[in-house]
């Protein structure tokens, strides 16, 4: 009796839901508004003239200078770099999944001596700081005559993506019910057929997530590209944008720089808007079980 009474008493003076949540709305919207404003500001500035950018602030462009985009596109050679990125990232992501999926399957589901050690050896790669690799990787690629080449960069991309990919997929394979394996074996599958007909199709959501994750990561990667690539015609998109920004910063061409930034981020943002659930799921998959 008294318990219900106190609960009721405590509940009574409560304000309506939206009033109680007002502070939450204000704080969340403050952050959101800032992020959106920053992007909007960049896009807007990309459409102004060099002089207008310096004084007009939040005003809309007086005249819409679409040619800034053309300048960025041609001067920054973003078209070429887009193709380079597409090639490197496409080939790398495909190869990453090709080598990591079978490895993760075996590490998750086979019984053999040294399995745990090997898994740890792969996973430890996630903790290795990438800058550590700059010098030895450059050395190895020079030795293989692959420095300053997209092939070399792809190989390195594959290597550095293996730890996180194997980590994610091992977790995914381990979560599949073992009764399915047993059922497939009883139906006459050999070990490869169990993998091919049953476990791999079931792991497809995980493989897809790993694909998206690697896609985002490698599409934006630029530290190793910076080390490995040298010739302007080999640049990937982030590297191209980096040199474009430097050039534009040097000449004070802010609109040109933002046109470049806009060209680079808009496709990403569109892809993100379409695939955000998958992307976010991919990011959280490994960390939150």
């Amino acid at each position: 009796m008294t318990d219900t009474a106190t609960v009721a008493a405590r509940r009574q003076p409560r304000l309506p839901g939206w009033v109680r949540r007002l502070p939450a709305y204000i704080l969340v919207w403050a952050w959101t508004a800032f992020t959106l404003a920053a992007i909007l500001y960049v896009v807007m500035s990309a459409l102004k003239t060099k002089r207008e950018v310096l004084r007009s602030g939040w005003n809309l462009p007086q005249e819409w200078v679409w040619s800034n985009f053309a300048t960025a596109w041609t001067v920054g050679r973003l078209g070429e770099y887009f193709i380079n990125s597409l090639l490197v990232v496409g080939v790398s992501v495909f190869a990453i999944l090709l080598v990591s999926t079978p490895a993760a399957y075996v590490l998750a589901r086979a019984r053999f001596r040294g399995r745990e050690t090997l898994t740890n050896l792969f996973v430890i790669g996630m903790g290795i700081p990438i800058p550590m690799l700059f010098i030895p990787i450059f050395g190895i690629l020079s030795y293989l005559r692959l420095s300053d080449s997209l092939t070399g960069l792809s190989l390195v991309f594959i290597a550095i993506s293996i730890p996180v990919t194997i980590y994610l997929l091992t977790g995914f394979f381990a979560s599949l019910p073992s009764e399915l394996e047993a059922a497939a074996v009883l139906e006459g599958c050999n070990d490869f057929q169990v993998f091919w007909h049953v476990m791999l199709p079931l792991a497809m959501p995980g493989v897809l997530t790993a694909l998206i994750l690697n896609l985002i990561w490698l599409w934006n990667e630029y530290q190793l590209s910076l080390v490995i690539l040298n010739s302007p015609q080999n640049r990937t998109l982030p590297l191209g944008l980096y040199s474009l920004q430097n050039a534009m910063q040097y000449t004070g061409d802010w609109p040109g720089m933002f046109a470049g930034v806009t060209i680079v981020i808009i496709p990403t943002i569109i892809a993100y808007a379409l695939l955000s659930e998958k992307m976010i799921a991919g990011m959280t998959m490994g960390a939150v079980k």
Partner: protein, 374 residues
């Protein structure tokens, strides 16, 4: 079909997980067409035994034969067994037809033959309208049928069922139980069925194998086990509510009969074959349904604690004078008030008497021996 070749035979099969023995020296033989239930509490080794029969687990010692052929080291797929899993283990990315025909696809069976056999199996189980669906679009009962269909289509020598009903709700479980039994009558293959549910075991089995801690406790038909349990474990495991076990003191024991004291009351039971010393403590097993409300004084006096009405019968929980509890199952609807005392008669020939190690002193081993047909 010689008399000698059984559908399945295990000879001294043992299985270790690391240091722990999960199956200890299992001997078991199963006739063709028999429906055999492996029954026991969780962790007794029944599922492991089934997985060993399927070849999913390797045994550490002993020999297993299917239809007279030694299969101890044969690969699962070549043992000619099919299994229905507890979770059904349907392949979620394949539709029903592909699930049922998966084994044939792996074996490269011609398409036409494959679809004909899939359809036949589906018709038998009345799921032919579901062939295009994915497992996730099926109800629990339908999934179960698909799993059975996948087993049937292979027409195996032995069907293995691993607690197939445990994921169904109560009503469906009852229905499926009956259907499985009918299916067994119709197709007549040997079936081995694992469960911890004694009702399933009693209703479906031709033969029950009761297991505990990796050993077989007793093998026999349901009624043999119920009426003639070898020991305390089998006696209490079968029957719902479980057998009452009451500590008593021997008053007098002879070839003519045995008299024990339960608190103030004396109970005279048929002789056991073993003469017991007066003053010795023995446990007696009294089935809940072996009581009736006595005319006059009765054999046992109890105090009523709680009455549970089931409609057609009544469960009465009560206490003996010395505090030991009893559960009675009485026909019809009676309602003795809590705290009142009841005088009970006991059907004496249904009582069991256990020695210190839990062996039933009234156990008659002859039945089982003829069963085993040494």
């Amino acid at each position: 079909m010689s008399e000698a070749s059984k559908a399945f035979e295990a000879r001294g099969v043992s299985k270790l997980y690391g240091e722990t023995a999960v199956l200890k020296d299992i001997d078991l033989s199963i006739e063709r067409g028999e429906f055999v239930v492996l029954l026991g509490p969780s962790g007794c080794g029944k599922s492991t035994l089934m997985r060993c029969i399927a070849g999913l687990e390797k045994t550490n010692a002993g020999q297993m034969l299917i239809d007279g052929r030694d299969v101890t080291t044969v690969a699962p797929a070549e043992r000619d067994v099919a299994m229905v899993f507890q979770s059904y283990a349907l392949f979620p990315h394949m539709n029903v037809a592909d699930n049922i025909g998966f084994g044939m696809r792996i074996a490269h069976t011609p398409k036409a033959e494959m679809s004909a056999r899939v359809l036949a199996a589906a018709k038998l189980l009345k799921i032919e309208h579901l062939l295009d669906r994915k497992p996730r679009a099926l109800s629990g009962g339908q999934r179960q049928r698909v799993a059975i269909g996948r087993a049937i289509v292979r027409n195996p020598k032995i069907f293995l069922f691993d607690e197939p009903l445990s994921n169904l709700d109560a009503a469906l479980r009852l229905e499926t139980r009956v259907e499985l039994t009918k299916l067994h009558h119709r197709i007549g293959n040997t079936m081995i069925y694992v469960t911890h549910d004694q009702v399933e075991a009693m209703t479906m089995a031709d033969k029950i194998v009761v297991m505990r801690e990796g050993r077989i406790e007793q093998i026999g038909s349901p009624l043999e086990l119920y009426n003639n349990p070898k020991n305390l474990f089998v006696a209490t495991f079968l029957g719902q509510p479980p057998t009452n076990v009451v500590e008593t003191t021997v008053v007098q024991s002879s070839a003519a009969g045995l008299t024990v004291a339960v608190g103030e009351d004396h109970l005279t039971l048929p002789a056991t074959g073993t003469v017991l010393a007066p003053g010795q403590t023995v446990r007696i097993g009294l089935r809940p349904e072996s009581f009736s409300i006595g005319q006059g004084r009765g054999a046992l006096t109890v105090l009523v604690d709680l009455v549970e009405q089931l409609g057609n019968e009544t469960l009465v929980h009560c206490q003996l004078a010395n505090g030991q509890t009893l559960t009675l199952k009485l026909p019809g609807q009676i309602n003795p008030p809590a705290g009142s005392s009841l005088a009970l008669d006991v059907a004496r020939d249904q009582t069991m008497i256990f020695d210190r190690d839990g062996n039933n002193l009234r156990y008659d081993g002859r039945g089982e021996q003829s069963q085993r047909g040494i």
